[in-house]
Amino acid sequence: MQALTDRPNRLALAIVWIGIAIVAFPLWITFTASTLTPQEIARGELLLPGGQGFETYSTILLEGARTSRMASPPVAGMMWNSLVMALVIALGKIAISILSAYAVVFFSFPGRMIFFWTIFITLMLPVEVRIVPTYQVVADLGMINSFAGLTIPLIASATATLLFRQFFLTIPDELVEAAKVDGAGPMRFFWDMVLPLSRTNIAALFVIMFIYGWNQYLWPLLITTSASMDTIVIGITKMIGGGDALTDWNAVMATTFLAILPPALVVLIMQRQFVKGLVDIEK
């Protein structure tokens, strides 16, 4: 309930700012560290940005980090891998989910419920519970170290199908009937009505699935072995090594910053759709 006065609620404001500090502090020093020299980092002078940033970023992006223990491939390549992976997963999930939800909601056919439950069951089968056999299937199909292997197995999504299904159930019957009287068949109705009406849902899912794809960890760890296929998230953890004084922290933090940037920008730019979508999906 709002306070009776227009005076700002000082306690609430203080707590919110503490929360923001806890969220923002790690991000801030990630940024500052990426602009400092390893010596400055080692001395703990982390609170303000330094002058090393341009050099660090251009080096890691184009040549890769040359740390004392290993040489990583250029980060630009890793970002490209992550971008392709995130986009294919996000768009692929949306495409196949909207089609299957359309089939389940707008048609009646033998086996409909069996198919629905088959899709639904995938909710209970994350990669983590079928590590070895999934790896073997991908290996048998010759998809190790390929974008196909990295993306296709992840684009089946019960979550997205359920969201579309839920939305489709709210499309008024009369709209379907009006379109039928106007002469629209099922695919025409899909293109002219369902797809444009699903715009907000598609946008929300895109944000969530882009983040999901960009942030994948266990899957690329299983499916890729060659450094040229490293995503940026995997690449960073390879750079850290032991995580001690020998780690080239300025390069690692610059890479980390680059790894955070795209998903964070997507959230910032599409925050409205994202917030609504996230809460809707779990309903």
Partner: protein
């Protein structure tokens, strides 16, 4: 669950379903069935032949002290992550809900960690708590405490818990805030007229009305702590030092992929599958409750 008004077409629905079904069958259902089958087999030393051993792998897994320790560790880890991710999120949501200005700005900043991969969150916290260069680690030592997550198992556990919880606060915050905003203001106004103070209103009206959201978030957070934190642990501690942060998912991955003991890893996978199914079932009972709420 189906619409009243539908299209009639014999072939089309199957074509629409085909891509998703194909992927689901090949990469989800088949491997899961395989996991169940492999959990009943044992491979010879060279991986050339395998024999059916019944439930022997399960017996081996469950009687392995290392596995039992991992179970205990996972419980501690999950409970700690869930609590540390839920309570601050609730506090922040309640406070943001009280504010009238710049709410959207605060919200978007607080939501940012959602965009960050668990492994990256791990790297951020590793950097801050790193014994040699970490700025927070230096502070802790300055206060006179020993701190070295590289060597001390407990320190390592604290580090992965903090990193995991930090990332998840965003998600919980969003749901709590949505839950709070869904509470009709008239209810709180009525309670205020009835003489309930702020704390009493929170306890007797807000908390009960938030209970469906809370319950949902508890299960989501446990699932998160069980499975999605693999990246945090792999990036920060590799399950160490001395297996001090080896949780169940990490162990299933390690035993299967690194130690290539497929039978044992598959048995662990099937056990984890049972856990997910149980948690999903609980979550769906919650959804049923919400419908009638």
């Amino acid at each position: 669950m189906r619409r009243k008004v539908i299209f009639e077409h014999k072939l089309l629905p199957y074509l629409l379903l085909a891509p998703q079904l194909a992927i689901t069958l090949v990469f989800f259902i088949w491997p899961s069935v395989q996991a169940m089958w492999m959990s009943l087999l044992r491979e010879d030393m060279f991986g050339l032949s395998s024999t059916f051993v019944g439930l022997e792998n399960y017996v081996r897994v469950l009687s392995d002290p290392g596995y039992v320790a991992a179970v205990r560790r996972t419980v501690v880890f999950s409970v700690a992550v869930a609590l540390l991710a839920l309570l601050p999120a609730l506090l922040l949501a309640v406070m943001v809900d009280k504010l009238t200005r710049r709410v959207a700005t605060y919200r978007v900043i607080l939501v940012l960690p959602y965009a960050i991969a668990p492994a990256i969150a791990g790297v951020l916290w590793l950097f801050m708590f790193n014994p040699s260069v970490g700025i927070v680690a230096a502070g802790i030592r300055g206060l006179g405490f020993a701190w070295n997550p590289k060597l001390d198992g407990q320190d390592a556990m604290i580090l992965v818990i903090l990193a995991s919880a930090w990332k998840q606060i965003s998600y919980n915050f969003l749901f709590f805030l949505a839950g709070l905003q869904a509470i009709p203001k008239s209810l709180l106004e009525a309670a205020a007229i009835d003489g309930a103070g702020e704390w009493r209103r929170f306890r007797t009206i807000v908390l009960p009305l938030l209970s469906p959201v809370t319950f949902f978030l508890v299960t989501v957070n446990v699932v998160y702590a069980f499975f999605d934190t693999f990246g945090v642990i792999h990036a920060v501690t590799q399950g160490g030092p001395a297996k001090a942060t080896e949780v169940l998912v990490y162990k299933a991955w390690y035993d299967g992929i690194i130690a290539t003991d497929f039978g044992i890893s598959s048995a662990q996978s099937v056990i984890l599958m049972a856990v997910v199914i149980a948690l999903t079932a609980i979550q769906f009972r919650f959804i049923d409750r919400k419908v009638t709420y």
